[in-house]
């Protein structure tokens, strides 16, 4: 199944296989199959891109947050997402990918990001629903990834998971305040979870039966838990929380399977999922345009920083310039 360009020395492959078998971590200096490396770069950069694009729907509400406390929490959250993007690009860089290339791929429309961010964030309650449901689904995925076989990725996940669980709690709190607020606020909260619940379920990817890539990832222990299993765990987590929120779960066909002891969601409209993946979501074009615009309009700034850095190394620094600490790259 692996498609290395050169056949590896027999012992490299054996060492790698043994590492995986033993649930040990693969580290950047270790030999690894090319396909393993490529799969990881694709997955990690896709995850990083999702953090970056995912900043947009929430950033739209920073200037309109309805209390100063909520404004502060939202800024901190969006900022964390930027930070997650940075860790993840760094993790991918340990595999030999450059951040510039990864961003170029994103801007050229050749790299994916989580398609859930192609839905609009229509109301303030969406800040709650995104935090609670979208970050909640992300955590289900990411908790599993804390045990992924590639070391730097696993460690980034540990750090990210901690912050994401804050975000999820904050999302829950936003919804709780709305649900217990005025009639209009309650309605706003219900409307938001009605819109975000299904897309959140789709975040776990297609059903296991239709997810051929998953198998190799499971064998490599990049992926540790199957899509359907993660989805069930998430639904199970949602059931009591919806109740605590006093909101209705928008899935009339949800049922509890007595045999497995798990909640089973009703059927999912995978056509919609594939439409959005294929670029036909409400905001696919919009999100990409804004990302590209930020990058393009910032080109002169990055050029200036590079030119300045070059000048600094080429000439002795003037006496006064040295006592300013370096704040941003």
């Amino acid at each position: 199944m692996t498609t290395t360009t050169e056949a590896p020395p027999r012992d490299d492959q054996q060492v790698f296989d043994a590492l995986i078998e033993a649930d040990s971590r693969v580290e950047p200096r270790d030999w690894m199959p090319d396909a393993y490396r490529r799969t990881l770069v694709r997955q990690i950069s896709q995850h990083a891109h999702s953090e970056i694009i995912g900043m947009q729907p929430e950033a739209n509400w920073i200037t309109r947050a309805p209390s100063l406390k909520r404004k502060a929490i939202l800024i901190a959250k969006v900022q964390d997402e930027g930070g997650h993007g940075l860790y993840l690009y760094s993790a991918a860089q340990t595999l030999g990918a450059s951040r510039e290339d990864m961003l170029d791929q994103l801007h050229a429309g050749k790299a994916r990001y989580s398609s859930i961010f192609n839905y609009p964030a229509r109301t303030w309650a969406d800040m709650g629903a995104i935090g609670w449901l979208v970050d909640g689904a992300a955590i289900c995925n990411q908790v599993a990834l804390c045990r992924t076989s590639y070391g730097p990725y696993a460690r980034a996940m540990v750090r990210i998971c901690k912050e994401e669980s804050f975000h999820q709690r904050q999302g829950f709190e936003i919804l709780l305040a709305l649900s217990r607020g005025t009639e209009e606020q309650h309605q706003m909260a219900q409307d938001a979870v009605d819109r975000w619940y299904r897309p959140a379920l789709m975040m776990f990817g297609p059903p296991d039966a239709e997810s051929p890539n998953s198998r190799q990832s499971m064998a490599w222990k990049i992926k540790r838990v199957s899509n359907d299993e993660l989805r069930r765990r998430f639904v199970g987590m949602c059931v009591p929380q919806f109740e605590a929120l006093g909101l209705t779960m928008p899935d009339p066909e949800l049922r509890f399977d007595e045999e497995t002891g798990q909640w089973e969601p009703g059927p999912i409209d995978w056509d919609e999922f594939h439409e959005i993946l294929a670029g036909r979501g409400p905001l696919n074009a919009e999100r990409m345009r804004r990302r590209r615009a930020a990058h393009d309009e910032g080109a002169w700034v990055r050029d200036a920083a590079a030119a300045y850095a070059r000048k600094q190394t080429e000439r002795p620094a003037p006496a006064g310039a040295s006592n300013h600490k370096e704040v941003a790259a």
């Binding site: 200037t63 209390s67 100063l68 404004k71 900022q79 005025t182 309009e297 700034v301 300045y308 704040v327």
Partner: protein, 245 residues
């Protein structure tokens, strides 16, 4: 105390309006590090605004959110400087350079003021704005001494904010009444301008030769921008008066 409350609104509104401006950069910055840095500065400023407006509100039983969301334009006390638009990154950096240099000198003194709450807020804020100032200084150097284009834009950015520097140093009867409970704005003129000139010199930039604009933000007479800023900031809170969030 009503005078202290007024003064706390000067500072709180500057922080809040500037945070609002910077918040609009997040997800639109020239690089990811700047999304984070500008977000961080905005976050510090929202924190300062909350402390200051909370303190201001204790004078008449209003909350920080009452002051942020339910005052009209003429009741705001922000300076014209912080109301100026983001423009391009250089315009934002120029505004940041002036604002953070001013705030740094202000809070460095205010932490020794006789009003204990203001002093405590200032003691925390001065550390934060020192970082904001470093950030602005670094970028002023990079843009001023980077490429021809960055230099041109940085000059235009400085020109855009310079007429609004003078307002920051205007004393008023309120300041006379407050005495050593506040910092007299006119005492900040020399150190702030000296610090700014030092940075400009290092960046190879000339001080703009532009006359000051008579502003009046501290008296509720604002630039034409504040109305738009408040319309956006307050829209949701005002749609649901009395609601909790």
């Amino acid at each position: 105390d009503h005078d202290v409350a007024q003064y706390a609104q000067w500072l709180g509104d500057d922080a809040l309006v500037l945070a609002q401006r910077l918040g609009a950069w997040i997800s639109r910055a020239p690089e990811l590090e700047e999304d984070i840095a500008l977000g961080n500065i905005a976050l510090d400023l929202v924190g300062q605004a909350r402390s200051l407006l909370h303190h201001a509100g204790t004078a008449d039983g209003r909350s920080e959110d009452d002051l942020a969301y339910f005052r009209d334009e003429t009741e705001f006390r922000s300076s014209w400087l912080v109301e100026q638009p983001n423009g391009d990154f250089a315009a934002t950096i120029a505004r940041q350079l002036v604002a953070s240099t001013y705030m740094h000198e202000l809070y460095a003194r205010l932490q020794h003021a006789s009003e204990p709450t203001l002093a405590a807020i200032a003691a925390k804020a001065v550390l934060e704005v020192a970082y904001h100032r470093d950030h602005a200084v670094q970028w002023t150097l990079r843009l001023g001494d980077g490429t021809d284009e960055s230099r041109r834009r940085m000059v235009a950015g400085l020109d855009a904010v310079w007429p609004y520097v003078d307002e920051l140093f205007a004393d008023t009867p309120l300041i006379d009444r407050l005495g050593d409970r506040a910092v007299r704005p006119s005492t900040l003129r020399e150190p702030v301008l000296a610090a700014l000139r030092d940075v400009l010199r290092q960046a190879g930039l000339a001080e703009p030769d532009l006359p000051p604009a008579p502003c009046g933000g501290r008296a509720g007479r604002h630039s034409e921008y504040l109305g738009y800023i408040l319309a956006e900031m307050q829209v949701l809170a005002r749609q649901h008066p009395g609601a909790s969030w």
